[in-house]
Amino acid sequence: MNDMRIVERDVDTNENKITARGVQVFYGQNHALKDVDVDILDKTVTAFIGPSGCGKSTFLRCLNRMNDTIDGCSVQGSIKIDSEDIYDPKVDPVQLRAKVGMVFQKPNPFPKSIYDNVAYGPKIHGLTRSKAELDEVVETSLRRAALWNEAKDRLSSPGTGLSGGQQQRLCIARAIATSPEVLLMDEPCSALDPIATAQIEELIDELRSQFSVVIVTHSMQQAARVSQRTAFFHLGNLVEYGETGKMFTNPSDPRTESYITGRIG
């Protein structure tokens, strides 16, 4: 990384990874997400911010069709990953979720060993052919998640025995073990202390060279620190979407400014 890195923060050399057009989400009668158009770039961290209930988590869950598991939730509009509509009837959500990984708010490792936690995804998707290959995938994932040094001597101990920050890194390792192309993170640091949060943010910064990362966060400061693009949601609408530096120094929409400066909640 050269020392003029901040000058090259513009990411317009990357292609669109995810294209969403006219997305509407209904929970029963409640129109939760209205008319969202957004292009999410590859090899970039995109942050979704907004007050509680604004629809950012809802939209995130549309991207890997987790909303399918919620009764009464209907999604309209088109969401394309690499120009393929993920809501096409021919698409199997299970296969989609191998390509689009997810990390949740509260660290939720399986109550199995660390090794089994990471190996589960590749196993059920048949991504490896031998135990040696599986070992390699587990090691690579744990290394990328910056957990290998702490975990390599206790791969068979339960995943739930780690600290909060380590558990979340384990969940990240588990999500990247299936070699996804997009990584979705729903408030991954909200249950962690500041040091663990900083370590996870640093990890996200390193991961973005391989994946497209979309992170929902209720902390604007976190969005400012970690993302290159930010989308501001308010009352179900996508109010503004742009380069993070510009959004936090000179946003276009007055609602964005009000939210960022702490004038509306």
């Binding site: 296969q95 979720r97 997810m102 589960y120 059920i124």
Partner: protein, 449 residues
């Protein structure tokens, strides 16, 4: 609130923390009273439990000891094996009457050898101290070992129930005078036989292994058939209700759409758990015996009826166990790309296992103790033959432990009262073992979580 706070606030500000105010004293007093009620309730229930156990054990433990006569018995070939060829077909023609004579002769011989006086007693009286079951015992033994005919063997026969009762304190000399089944002279003879070493009390394995015996022979009655019958039924209940119950609860909890039909099913399952068990007996009678033509009093019918009864009692705790698994685990599994089925079987089920197991063992323990439905399908009958090995054995007539208890309780002979209590003890022991297994299994699974 403001008025209260104004006056008490003024007071609180003036008073020190080291002096408790009236409200605090009141609160503490009511808490102490509540704790006292709890302790009293626990003490009372402990006392009741101790009294209950004492009364059962004091009546029931004697059932495990029985009076036997051990003496050399001559097996005359001319009487027992007319053909001389040890042919079982021929030897079977000799009935228990013939063997009774053999035993009687042996007893008289033993008495004269030991020099015990028997004046005033007829031969029938002397023979009367032996159980009426004894000839059958000897006959079965000889037919199983035909080569012993012609020899003299040392054999153990049961003593009469009244004699046994005399040694256990149920029968006394005074009551013997009024009793038609026993005379005081027989009791005196029995004492002398004990002194001579011919008669003795020992642990009665036969109580657990022998089949039931008729009214005249409480001393020979045993739980063998009942235990096997109960065991077969529990096996059937386990094999049928566990998979069906768990699969049903998984389907209802994870896969079924949430609409009015599934709500209806849920209400019905909850109601089924509360249906009186005798209703299931009527159902079993109508469907399994009358319609399907399965044999009466067979473990298969009992097992099926108990399965129907146990299913709701498994489904309800299984559903609760599945519900208690946090949704974050399901989300994590789905997020990594598991299908619904994989997430349920690989992740949710192992975590719900302790709860499901506990529910299942409790359901089994309840089924073990159910009597009413079994009565209706005919298990109250008197069954002497052991059911054979599974699967055929499921269709042979059998009894069940709680039914046997009921059976013995309604018979007149006081010897059966003792045996009924003994059977209750056996039942309690089984229930204790099952609960212990439930606790151990639960601990083992919970540690992994």
């Amino acid at each position: 609130m403001t008025g209260l706070s104004a006056s008490s606030a003024a007071g609180a500000r003036k008073g020190s923390l080291l002096a408790q105010d009236a409200l605090t004293v009141q609160r503490n007093a009511s808490e102490t009273r509540f704790k006292l009620y709890g302790i009293i309730a626990i003490t009372l229930s402990m006392l009741a439990l101790i009294w209950l156990l004492y009364s059962i054990f004091s009546v029931g433990t004697p059932a495990f000891r029985q009076t036997f006569l051990t003496m050399p018995i001559e097996l005359p070939a001319d009487k027992l094996d007319k053909s001389g060829t040890r042919d079982l077909a021929v030897m079977s023609k000799v009935t228990t009457v013939g063997y009774a004579a053999v035993i009687q002769a042996a007893l008289e011989k033993a008495i004269t050898e030991k020099g015990i006086p028997t004046e005033g007693m007829t031969a029938k009286d002397i023979a009367g101290i032996i159980s009426l079951e004894a000839p059958a015992q000897l006959r079965n033994y000889v037919l199983a070992n035909p080569e012993l005919v012609g020899q003299t063997i040392d054999f153990e026969v049961l003593a009469n129930g009244r004699v046994d009762g005399f040694f256990k304190g149920r029968v006394s000399m005074e009551s013997a005078k009024l009793d038609s089944n026993i005379k005081p002279e027989q009791l005196i003879l029995s004492e002398k036989l004990v002194d001579a070493g011919i008669m003795a009390q020992r642990f009665n394995w036969g109580f657990i292994t022998a089949p039931d015996a008729s009214d005249q022979r409480p001393e020979a009655a045993g739980l063998g058939v009942a235990i096997i019958g109960s065991f077969y039924m529990m096996l059937i209940v386990l094999v049928l209700s566990l998979p069906i119950g768990v699969a049903a609860s998984i389907y209802l909890e994870e896969f079924a759409p949430k609409n009015r039909w599934t709500d209806l099913i849920e209400v019905n399952i909850a109601n089924l758990a509360a249906v009186p068990s005798i209703v299931f007996g009527i159902l079993g009678l109508a469907v399994f015996i009358n319609f399907a033509g399965l044999p009466q009093s067979a473990p298969i019918v009992g097992g099926l009826v108990l399965t129907l009864m146990t299913l709701p009692r498994i489904i309800i705790p299984a559903r609760a166990a599945l519900k208690s698994v946090p949704p974050s685990i399901r989300d994590a599994a789905l997020g990594v790309g598991a299908s619904k089925l994989q997430s349920v079987f690989h992740h949710v089920l192992p975590l719900a296992a302790p709860g499901i197991l506990t529910g299942m063992i409790i359901g089994l323990a309840q089924a073990l103790g159910e009597t009413a439905p079994l009565l209706l399908i005919g298990m109250v009958a008197f069954v002497r033959d052991y059911p054979s090995a599974p699967m055929q054995g499921f269709f042979d007539p059998a009894s069940a432990l709680p039914v046997q208890v009921f059976n013995w309780t309604v018979r007149g002979d006081p010897g059966f009262v003792e045996r009924a209590s003994g059977a209750i003890i056996v039942l309690l022991v089984f229930l204790l073992i099952m609960n212990a297994v439930a606790i151990i299994l639960r601990r083992r699974f919970e540690r992994r979580w």
